[in-house]
């Protein structure tokens, strides 16, 4: 019997657990550890944040499903890793602390034969002074509860505009090296859509603030797409989207501090500037969860498992090299830890070898650029590939890692909602193939120009809406869920 422990029940972790239970016999034990009992379909947080969906529409309780699938579920969070065990327990284990009300604070050792760390990012609000959602005029859409609060705050601002008071909405990145620009981009477009739908646009200034060197960078160095008889850059695409809506922007900005009425940022020119606001939704920096790892004598071996940002080291090439020498071969394919081959880290939990966008520093030496995104589709694929490799290892006894998924080979699709509605809604369907540009394979544009696109239109909204129901259907393990691709 093999014991497989999955940390995290998000896109990567839940996908891995689903395929493990489907393909392994009942003699093997699968345990999922997650601090929340809910699975949430994060991309739809955007619609919760503008009141078009409720939190209950985008999440569900995992416990009945795991019970049906005979997966053990622990409502707890991982804290420490003991990949060699310790003096008492002579096998690899992870120390968890329960978060459920009945057992809150209780710690337990969970032994494993295989460990999947799919704990995603720590939303590092503390890295930016004053950036705490739910305080003052600051919102977030990173979780369903944040998005619910964002909608409450947005309603207050809408009421003020209805009473004739002008409001400034600032949305974007809240840390000099934040990622996930796509989510903020969607939110600003949806907020703008809701303001216009209510005829309040004359009373709203909507401003995009970003650490991107140019708009449309999205942490992947931008992309080339075919548009109107030209091959153009996503910079033009993103700017055009904003110009069409009278949204203005501040780029190359590293937000350092925020108080109730002002955002303080430094730009690449090294200037320290301020922006007034009445409503701000700024994506925080992401980091690892601060896990510690120990060997069997109790010595700290965290450096073997985790990179400096706290994310887990995998089969990437972490040798520091200049931007010009970066290649797709630096990117991991199996998400296996090099020191402990029975530990894997799919999804945002793995430490990327470097960013995809070119790292930039301000004249004062502050790094200001978008770090590498790892969106839902690649995270799901990584979760599946990890499960497939573990299944093959258990069934054959041979750790050959035949299943591979590199961000330098796989593509990603991100449907950027820009307004909700079956006839009046709109979204830009953005695809890149591959995520990390491969200049050897595609010397002209870095990516497959036929499968890298940005197309605005009503069809995009239908797609995003259909994906919401389709991916929740899949996550709920309804009949034939496995036929739905990641």
């Amino acid at each position: 019997m093999a014991k497989i422990v999955v940390l995290g029940a998000g896109v990567a972790g839940h996908t891995a657990a689903s395929y493990l239970q489907r393909n392994l016999g009942k003699e093997h034990q699968i345990t999922v550890v997650s601090p929340s009992v809910n699975y949430q379909w994060i991309p739809s947080n955007i619609w919760v944040g503008v009141g078009r969906m409720m939190a209950d529409d985008i999440k569900f309780d995992l416990r009945p499903l795991y019970k049906k699938w005979k997966i053990e579920f622990l409502q707890a969070k991982a804290i420490n890793f003991y990949p060699e065990g310790d003096a008492i327990l002579q096998e690899g284990y992870v120390e968890v602390e329960y978060t459920s009300s009945e057992k809150s604070g209780v710690r337990q050792k969970i032994p494993y034969d295989f460990l999947i760390n799919a704990t995603g990012p720590k939303l590092n609000f503390a890295a930016t002074e004053g950036l705490l959602p739910g305080t003052g005029n600051i919102a977030s859409v990173c979780t369903f509860s944040h998005a619910t609060e964002a909608w409450q705050l947005l309603q207050e601002k809408i009421k003020k505009m209805e009473q004739g008071e002008k409001q400034v909405f600032v949305i974007g990145t809240g840390n000099p090296t934040a990622t996930c620009q796509g989510a903020a981009f969607e939110y600003i477009l949806n907020v703008d859509f809701e303001i216009k739908r209510r005829g309040l646009d004359a009373l709203a200034d909507v401003i995009w603030i970003t650490n991107e060197y140019e708009l449309g960078d999205f942490g992947m160095g931008g992309a080339f797409i075919k548009k109107g008889g030209f091959v153009t850059n996503t910079k033009l695409f993103a700017e055009s989207y904003f110009v069409e809506r009278n949204i203005t922007w501040i780029k190359r900005a590293g937000v350092k501090k925020i108080d109730e009425h002002k955002i303080y940022y430094e730009n690449l020119e090294g200037e320290y500037l301020e922006q007034k606001y009445d409503f701000a939704m700024l994506i925080p920096g992401f980091s690892g969860h601060g896990f510690k790892a120990y060997d069997k004598r109790g010595s700290d071996i965290s450096e073997q498992l985790f990179a400096a940002n706290g994310l887990m080291k995998v089969d990437a090439d972490y040798t520091p090299k200049p931007f010009e020498e970066w290649s797709i071969n630096d990117w991991p394919q199996t998400y296996q830890n090099p020191s402990f081959p029975n530990i894997f880290a799919p999804g945002i939990a793995f430490a990327p070898p470097h960013s995809i966008s070119k790292p930039m520093k301000s004249k004062n030496g502050t790094p200001i650029f978008a770090t590498a995104p790892r969106t839902g589709m690649p995270s799901g694929v990584m979760g599946k590939v990890t499960a497939e490799n573990i299944i093959a290892w258990i069934k054959t006894g041979n750790p050959q890692m035949v299943h591979k998924a590199s961000m330098g080979k796989m593509g990603a699709a991100c449907i950027v909602s820009a307004g909700y509605g079956m006839t009046k809604g709109t979204a830009a369907t953005m695809t890149v193939s591959p995520v990390v540009p491969d200049w050897d394979r595609f010397p002209d544009w870095g990516r497959d120009i036929n499968f890298t696109m940005g197309e605005p239109g009503l069809a995009g909204h239908w797609l995003k809406w259909a994906m919401h129901y389709m991916f929740l259907y899949k996550a709920k393990g309804k009949p034939f869920w496995w036929l739905i691709p990641e």
């Binding site: 009278n246 193939s433 499968f451």
Partner: protein, 53 residues
Amino acid sequence: MENRLIITKYSDQYYPPSPTSFTLFWRRFIPFQLIRFFVLNWKIIRIVVKGHT
């Protein structure tokens, strides 16, 4: 486009292309968007399937 009138000249916002009413029409024209819906679906599925081995 009327948006241009309120954009300060020589600012970043002054230069990017704005969609014409013709372009906006196609973005909302349901029969055309239905076709695009299927085309986009096919492209996305192809990307997912080809992305891993």
